[in-house]
Structures are given as C-alpha cells and as structure tokens.
C-alpha cells in the first residue's frame, strides 16, 4: 500500500493509464485501423502498429526522465518502463476479451460488480478518514446506485444488441487484427503478443533514457529518420522517382513502402550521421562561434547561396505532385508573413485575414477571366492584375481597420472575425451575383504567361510564389528593424505607454493592417490563377484560422517559424490525405500539445522566448 501511495508509483500508474487510454481512444475512433493501412517498413511494421509501440515507448522515456529526479537508481526505472508498457496494453486487452464471444460474460460480470466495488472503495476511504459508519453507509448506497444506473444500462444495451460493435463501431475485425499483431484467430496468443510487445516498447523507452547522451541522440535521430521516411514513403518515393532510375527505386520501395533492407540501411546510415553530429556538432558550432565576424559572414553567405540554389531547384527535385503541395504551402507562407505583420509585429489579433485573400482572388478572377463573368476577357494579364490585387487588398485592409482602431485584444479579434464572415456572405450573395457569380463563382481564369510560355504547372507556379514570398520576407525583415517596426513593438507591448512615448498609435495600427493585407491579396490572386476558378466555398473562416495557427505553431514574429509552421500545418495534411478524417484530429491534438509543451512555437523569436522564460507579460507589469 505504501508503495502504491508513493509519488513515484502514482506517477507511473497515471502515465501508464494515460498511455493506455490514448491507445484505446485512437483504436475506438478507428485511427489505429486506418493507420494500419500504411506500412512503414514492408512486411514488418505498419503505422498503426507503430502507434501502439510509440505510446509506451515515449511515455516510458518521459516518465523515466521525471523519475530520475527522485534518484531511484536504474532498476526501478526499467521496471517502470515495463509497467507502463503493461498499463498501455491493458485497456486494449480488456476490450479484446470483451469483444470475443467466449469471454463476453466477463463484461457482464464486470459491469455488475463495478458499482459495488467503486462504492465500497469510496466508503471505505471515507470511513478511514474518520467518517461515521452511518454516513459511510449512506455514501455507499448513493454511489452504488448512481454508478449502478450507468453500468446496468450498459449491460442492458449489450444484452439486447449482444455485440460491442454496435456501441463502438470501430472496435472491429481490423482493429483486432492490428492490436493482436495478426493473431486474430488465436486470441490468447494475440493478447500475449500485445502485452509483450508493449512491455518491450516501454522497457526500450526507459533503456533509451539510461543511455549516455551521444548514442542516445544518434539512436533517436536514426529512428526518427527511418520512421518518417517510412511513414511518408509515398512522398519520399515521389521525390526519388525524379532522381533515380526504376530499378534502384524498386530495390528501395515495394510500391510505396520501404523495403526491409532499405529501412535497415537507412537506419544505420542516419544513426551514424546522428552519432557524428552528436559527437562533433557542438564543436563545429563552437568553432563557428569563435570565428571572426567577417569569417562568420562568409559562412552565412555560403549557407544562404546554397539555400537559394536548393529553393530554385526544388520543383525538379520533388516532381509535380509535391510541387503542387509546395505551391499551396507557399500561398500560406505568404499569408502567414502578411498576417504576422499585424499579429506578430503590432500585436493586433486579426481574425479576418480571409477578407484580403478573397479580395485578391476575386479581383484577379473578375479582371482576367475569359469566361462569361470576365470583365475584360483577356485584356488584363496576370502580371497586370497582381499589383491591382495587392492594392485592392490593402484598401480593404485599410477600410476594415478604420472602425476597429480603438478596439483592443479580444474585442478586436471578434470584430475582425465578423468582417471575415461578412465577406464570405457577400461572396455568396445574390446582390453581387451578377459580378462574381454567387455560389457558382468565377471560372475560366487563364494561367499566367511568362515570356510567351504559359505557366500552367505547379512546377512553374512555384516560382511565382517563391519570388512573392522572398519579397515579402525581405520587406517584413526591413520593416521589423525600422522605426515603424519599433512603433509596432511599442504598441504590442503597451498601447498606453506607446502613446506616452509620442507614437501615433492610430496611424501605426492602420499601417500594420494595411501592409498586412497586401500579401493576403497577392496570395489570393496566385491561388485563383493556380486553381483556375474561384468559389465562395474556398473562403471560409478556416483560412483565417489556418493562417493564425501556422503562425502560432511556427513561432509568433519569427519568419523561419512561419515557413516551418506552414510546412507542418498545411503541407503535412496534404501528404496525409489518405487519413482524411483523422487529419483534423491530429491537427487538433498537435495544436493542443504545442500550446502546452512549446507555446513559443517551433522556431521562436527572441522576444517571445524572453517572455516565456521570465513569465512576464506586459499586462502584469503594467498592473503592478
């Protein structure tokens, strides 16, 4: 009992249960079975099974790290890993038992016993804590009754329906197949495998923690690379396809899955690379730090040149499908950089960014379309309209900013959200139908033509996005280091004090909204040209929310962060299309996890790091 009470054991149990619940939940929503469809390594492990292993592995690692604060030695850590593995498998094992006809009666018994056990536990604890016998009895009755209602009705449902599947639709044969590691026919063997594998994964997690730092980092690196390449096999294959001949490709992949030998080779190579980096990486960084400024500058320039060359060659390297994804990412990078001017630099929470995007798209559509709604039927080209789309979006940004200049924080967010909705409704309205086609939208938007060649493929459109993003990046870096940037910084920190510094806050805010809108317009125009048609359906509040999320996940006010944020939040879902429904579940889970574990974003900017580390918010200091 003492052991159970101790903080360590409680931690192990709680985290074990948590990981078990995670596995049960992902199974019950059908995620595990869906993930099973994608094999990570051919005939070896699927993504679904990997999920089953990752849960105890990661949890055990994490718990070991926490437990090592208590300094309990090695053996308890390893045991904790095993226990966590067991706890992870346990809920699924119980469900497996209940799911099999022979053991259904167990479920019945459990459902009937649970209320009494629960009631007795609580009553007993209360009694020990000093409650009167009568009170304890009363409590016992009450809890037994309440819990009883729930479990008995469950029992009733199962009796009538006679099947778990009617309640938990996703606990089906596919699920059983995954969690038993293909031992559907021999349940006991399946359960044993699940338990053992899970415990082994937990043990491995603890072991990993106990390793010395260098091999540990190498191993983590090797494992992650292999798993990522395997999980995104389809994507990787598309990339390699552009650069390797068919036979070599066949050596590496069987259809879209990594072959075992290739996976092994990849693991060895990436672990070795990770090892080298772990051994010598810090030295290299130290040497870079010791360099003279001029030398450091050279290194930076070389890096930049290599990066630019890489970006220029990207469409050739990745092929058409992925270029398409890259263009979408680029469009969102553009919007992210733009919105960041309002949110990151000036601290204005603008949830109506979609307005600018829609304005840009419709301006391009109406002015260049050669369809019935086109105003000029081809007189205006893409290149002529891009500046117009930019100006129109800036104008829209300006107009919408005027009424909300005096609003702050939450109120501003709600007001701008409202504007976004208005634009969505306007686009679909009858009133504007003669101009922009209502629900049918505007069609037949020609592709841009550059030096006589039609830029019709994503590989070519990519360059437009690239150039636009680079220009925006340049402008926003310059802005951030300018007097205007300092105005925004002051407003973001404290509007009242900013006024006291002599800053015209209204003007600075107007400027932020207007400039921020500009790239939204360009992004919208590029989007319209890429798709060729513009529908109101493309302009939902989710655009605004996506852009906001990618800024937050990447790192507010951090330009590299925004690019990474767009790749993670926009690119990844595109690549995971086959998991259609679960994409958003994962998206949501990622957002929550990020906000808890890394609120400063993936690549945080300096100032946000300050805030997180010191825990100081401007509001707090002002209130002092």
């Amino acid at each position: 009992m003492d052991l159970l009470r101790s903080q360590t054991s409680q931690k192990i149990l709680i985290f074990g249960l948590f990981s078990g619940a995670f596995i049960l939940f992902t199974g019950a929503v059908g995620m595990i079975a869906a993930f099973h469809e994608r094999e990570v390594v051919d005939r070896f492990i699927s993504l679904g099974q990997l999920l089953l292993l990752m849960a105890p592995f990661v949890t055990a690692y994490y718990v070991s790290r926490q437990l090592s604060d208590f300094d309990e030695g090695k053996a308890p850590l390893l045991i904790s890993g095993v226990i966590i593995g067991l706890m992870t498998a346990l809920p699924s094992i119980i469900l497996l038992l209940f799911n099999a006809d022979e053991y259904r009666f167990l479920l019945d018994i459990c459902l009937r016993v649970i209320p009494f056990v629960a009631a007795s536990l609580v009553a007993w604890r209360m009694h020990r804590a000093g409650a009167e016998t009568q009170t304890a009895l009363g409590i016992w009755l009450m809890i037994a009754f309440l819990v009883g209602i729930v479990t008995f009705s469950f029992a009733l449902i199962f009796e009538i329906k006679g099947d778990l599947r009617t309640v938990l639709v996703n606990i089906d044969r596919d699920w059983v197949e995954v969690v038993t590691f293909d031992n559907r026919n021999d349940l006991m063997r399946g359960i044993g495998t699940l338990g053992l594998v899970s415990m082994a994964a937990g043990l491995a997690g603890s072991l990993l923690y106990l390793m010395p730092a260098v091999p540990r980092r190498a191993l983590v690196y090797g494992l992650s690379v292999t798993v990522l390449v395997g999980a995104f096999g389809e994507t990787v294959r598309l990339v390699l396809q552009e650069n390797l001949d068919r036979d070599t490709l066949r050596e590496i992949f069987r259809r879209d899955t990594l072959r075992q030998n290739a996976a092994l080779a990849l693991f060895v190579i990436s672990t070795a690379a990770g090892f080298l980096w772990a051994m010598y990486g810090s030295q290299a960084r130290a040497r870079f730090g010791d360099m003279k400024t001029s030398q450091r500058r050279t290194v930076n320039i070389i890096g930049l040149v290599l990066f630019v060359i890489f970006m220029l060659m990207l469409p050739w390297l990745i092929g058409r499908t992925l270029s398409d994804v890259a263009v979408t990412i680029g469009i969102f990078v553009l919007m992210g950089l733009g919105l960041n001017i309002a949110i990151g630099l000036a601290g204005l929470l603008d949830l109506g960014y979609l307005t600018n995007y829609a304005v840009g798209a419709y301006i391009l559509a109406v002015l260049t379309s050669i369809g019935p709604l086109g105003l000029f039927k081809g007189t205006f080209t893409f290149w002529m309209v891009i500046p117009l789309a930019l100006l129109a979006a800036m104008f829209a940004g300006f107009i919408f900013a005027v009424p909300v200049l005096r609003m702050r924080g939450d109120y501003l967010a709600i007001a701008t959200l409202g504007f976004g909705e208005i634009i969505g409704k306007l686009a679909i309205s009858d009133w504007l139908k003669p101009l922009i086609g209502g629900a049918q939208g505007v069609q037949a938007i020609p592709k841009p033509i550059f030096l006589g060649a039609e830029l019709k493929n994503p590989e070519q459109l990519y360059y437009i996005v690239l150039v636009a993003s680079l220009v925006t990046l340049f402008v926003s870096i310059r802005l951030n280091n300018s007097r205007t940037g300092r105005q925004w910084m002051a407003i973001r920190e404290d509007e009242d004090v900013a006024t006291a510094m002599g800053i015209d806050t209204a003007r600075a805010k107007l400027l932020a909204f207007t400039l921020s809108a500009a790239t939204g317009g360009v992004a919208g125009a590029i989007f319209a040209a890429k798709v060729g048609t513009v529908f109101p359906n493309s302009f939902t509040v989710f655009i605004s929310i996506n852009v906001l999320s990618l800024i937050i996940v990447g790192g507010i006010a951090s330009n590299p962060g925004i690019v990474v944020g767009a790749i993670v939040l926009i690119g990844m879902p595109e690549l995971l299309r086959e998991f259609s429904d679960f994409r958003f579940l994962m998206y949501g889970a990622l957002l929550i996890l990020m906000m808890i574990k890394r609120p400063q974003g993936l690549i945080p900017s300096k100032i946000v790091t300050h805030e997180i580390r010191t825990g100081v918010k401007p509001a707090l200091a002002a209130a002092e």
Binding site: M489, A490, E493, A500, M501, G502, T505, T614, P618, A622
Partner: protein, 236 residues
Amino acid sequence: MALLEVNDIHTYYGNIHALKGVSFEVDTGEIIALIGSNGAGKTTTLRTISGLMEPREGAVYYEDEDISNTRADLLVSKGISMVPEGRGVFAKLTVEENLDMGAYIRRDSGIKDDLAGAFELFPRLEERKKQVAGTLSGGEQQMLAIARALMSKPRLLLLDEPSMGLAPVLVDGVFDTIQRIANEGVTILLVEQNAHMALQIADRGYVLQSGEVAISDTAANLQQNETVQKTYLGID
C-alpha cells in the same frame, strides 16, 4: 510667463464628472506638487494635460498655445513627457530597448550621449541594461520609467506618484533624482501621495479635493497649513 496654464478644466469619464474646474499654473524651472487623497483627480489632471483625455470645458495652455485637443503623441514632440502611474515600462523589452523607445520621437544624433547621461543618473540601470525590464525590481522599474521619459528631452516632466510602492530608503533616492533633474532645467509637475516628501522639494503646491483645487500656496506655507498637516501630513 507660465510654461503651463491649466484653466478651469472639466474632465469626464463617461458621465462621471472627475475634474470640476481645475486651474493652476506651472512656471518654467519650477517643481510643482499636486497632492490630494485617493480619487481626488490627480491622475485625471495629468492625463488631461498630456493629451490622453480631452477636457469637456476649459483649456490647457502650453507656452501660450491651446493644447486641450492635441494628441498625446504630438505633445511628446512639443516637450511634454509623462511617467504614468504604475510605471508602465515595456516589460518584455530590455532596459536599453526601453530607453531607446523613449527617444522614439527624436531623430537627432545626441541619443547616444543622452543614453550615457541616463546611465549616469541611474548607475543601477547601466548594470542591467541587457536585462528584460519586467524582471527589474519595482524601484528599478520606476527608475527606468523616469529615465525613459527623460530620453525624449522633455521641458515639462509629469510624474504620477513616483514613490508608489517603494521602500522608504528608495523614496529618498527618487526624490533626490527628481531634484537633480529639476536642476538640469526641466520643469516638473509632481503628483504625490507622499505629501511630506513632495512639499520638501517643491516650490509651490496645489491640494486637489474631489476634482477641485482646494488650497494653493508655496510649498513652505503648505507644510505649515493646518488642514494640510492634518489630512496629508498626518500631523495632529
């Protein structure tokens, strides 16, 4: 000639009548103390002068120009600088960045020298120039707020309760500093709860009561005034 003339101003928060006809004058080179109990309207007076609020009636003249309806940011370039109640430093920025911000309206080349001057006045801040302002102690934040206000090279400095929340030892230091700033030729309008200290360094003082000026006199006379002694100096 008065540098600042407040002429019968009425200021409202919605329909709350906070200032009911306040008038006073500040001459160049003076230290003027504005004292009064909580809610008397001292902060409101400063906010009205500095342009954060507009008087509904009456007017504020600065160098004989009516500034009642001039925006706060423009007044900073005219030479009026305020240290708001509760300091209001930019908590996430470093000490140095805060001071830079103070010089925001300036485009001249003397900013570096003035930064050095500020550090001379507050050596504590120089030691901490890379520290994030939010992590400074309360007293240090107050120093920073004053130093930052000075960075705009004001001719009139409005101080709202600079001694608030400071240990008695530090209070002495702050008033010392204010005296030194005044000696450099900056005119000072000082709002204080700590009437005792304020009247010691001030030339003249005004007592504000429920949005009106109740007493006005030289600082020395105010210290002898019976009502003032009773109500604001705690002398029976």
